[in-house]
Symmetry: C2
Subunit: 344 residues, 2 copies
């Protein structure tokens, strides 16, 4: 008996939640659909791109769809500022200006909109970046879920600091600025009322001052990346792929707060794939590692910075592996799709 | 008998569709809620703002929520390019780069996403502006209506061309680059299947080349504005308010295509409040008016440019009036709220 299967796979024909998760499905969507369509207009899409004709200026854009709008440690307003400030910072840039664009569902209480905007304004002020322009659209009930916020930022790069996901080199030391897993588990726990949200809070915060502290090390800082969607696993896999190197990290060195570990245990999640909004990984040349660690620890958002691994001298290219607590070694895979939807 | 009314008016407590319509409700939301919250971070919000530290660079952002995604003459992809290119152009700027951020509803056919992105890429290429960075978020079914697109653009201003809605002066001539009402009536007719969509098409197109044609007139060009949401009525009222002048236009001079007039008649709409995406109004000093008209007519998107009115010498400030075909005079009011939701 043969099974005839003439119909296409329907799951391949529509957008899936996983297409927005920052993992393999996202990469496929980008590579197979978005980039071919837009290539005619310019270069490749990156998290923060150089402005043509202005080598020192970078641009980054992000739409925020987090649910719920408010969670311990932050809300969609502060997140929208920090997310874009951090994307600029990961290209070695200081934020100069932000635009803010709102899509509001008819019926949203004005008090909630006021609270989000107040938080957004305060976050921008605290980060020292002006909101210079904006836009507001309202759609009917049911056409959006409460409120979506887009921020786009322009930043100016620090002199000699030109980090890129493609610049990791064999011998590099891998640094992490703080504990992982807080943002994703906090949002998930708040949304699903799991109860962990009383013990944890999102790490959402701006990282541009942390990057500024690294600026004096200049070209010794090869890669900066904030492990948001897809978590540390996605960030390290992207770097390994884009730099054509292997990455090895020590499980014992990666700081996972106890409440995050408990939440992940219960949910069957790997903390390595949980989104963060207030830490970064830095790949720096080995001789500069101690100075980089000291620089990171010199600012409040980097006091818990640690060394978590290194780039081995001989590949295998693109592979991220973890030395476990019991001495074994396991591959850290690129997350496939959406385990934590609408986390940012 | 006294009527006690302790409960607040519920319609004041939530966001209404009209808050996004570009009229008086939009202005109230902006003045009373958005600006106070964000003022701490910087200057006032404008459609296109100057980048701090770079006097020649302007930024503009817009989120597009048009329904349906495809309509005669365009789609949300081309509209998202033209809208932001035009906002930059209205500040006298040439577009240097665009960012594109998508919010996609789970279940959107990939073919539709591909068509929109293809159109967006083509529109960017035709306008000569590279898409340099982007972002994609996916939300669950029912959490968004198919697809929303944010574009943010950076532009460089033409040397002496520094138009602003606040620069209209008594004696100015008011020019209009083409017929009005096409975009709004086309989208509405397509969405509601009214049948007019076989006779009309959106005027969506980039206007930066039209503005470039005006650049040699420099400071004689006082105001440029594309009458999008709220139509010509909103644009002229904003200019009259921001410049503290009156504006008088001739009904007989404002080009309204026959199909637009029929559609508006049937729908009870005033063509003056219907959104446009491919024309602009220019306020120029009277001695430069003939040259400005000739410059506009020298490019394809301005061949139908006409003189529609002037700024009278003695106010009353902020008032826009129309000399009707029968010689009467009526006030053109700022539209209140949403007569045409999700038109862009």
């Amino acid at each position: 008996m043969t099974i005839d299967c003439p119909t296409p796979r329907h799951e391949d024909e529509v957008v899936l939640l996983g297409h927005g998760a920052g993992g393999r499905l996202s990469a496929e969507l980008l590579d197979q659909l978005v980039l071919p369509a837009l290539d005619g207009g310019g270069g490749p899409l990156e998290d923060a791109a150089l402005l043509p004709g202005y080598r020192e200026l970078v641009i980054s854009t992000d739409s925020f769809v987090v649910s719920p709008l408010f969670f311990p440690g932050g809300d969609i307003g502060s997140l929208a500022v920090h997310g874009t400030v951090n994307d600029l910072a990961m290209r070695g840039a200081w934020p100069l200006a932000l635009s803010v664009s709102l899509i509001v569902e008819e019926g949203l209480p004005l008090a909630e909109l006021r609270a989000v905007l107040g938080s957004l304004g305060k976050a921008a002020q605290n980060a020292g970046v002006p909101v210079v322009t904006g836009d507001t659209k309202v759609v009917g009930r049911g056409a959006a879920d409460k409120l979506f916020v887009n921020t786009t930022g322009i930043g100016r790069r620090h002199g000699a600091l030109h980090p890129s996901a493609a610049l990791a080199r064999p011998g590099d030391t891998v640094l992490l600025s703080g504990p992982i897993g807080l943002h994703g588990t906090t949002v998930l726990s708040t949304r699903e009322r799991l109860g962990f949200e009383s013990d944890i809070a999102s790490d959402t915060r701006p990282l541009h001052r942390l990057v500024k502290a690294l600026a004096p090390l200049g070209a010794a800082v090869h890669v900066l990346r904030d492990p948001t969607r897809g978590g540390l696993a996605a960030a390290l896999n992207e770097i390994a792929r884009d730099s054509c190197v292997a990455v090895e990290i020590d499980e014992s060195a990666v700081p996972v707060p106890e409440a995050v570990a408990s939440a992940c245990d219960l949910l069957g999640l790997d903390p390595l794939i949980v989104a963060n909004e207030g830490c970064l990984v830095a790949f720096v040349s080995a001789p500069a590692a101690d100075d980089a660690l000291a620089a990171m620890r010199s600012v409040p958002e980097g006091t818990e910075a640690v060394r978590i691994g290194e780039v081995p001298p001989h590949g295998p290219d693109g592979r991220v592996s973890l030395r476990t607590l019991v001495g074994a070694r396991r591959i850290v895979e690129m997350p496939l799709g959406e385990q934590l939807p609408r986390i940012c």
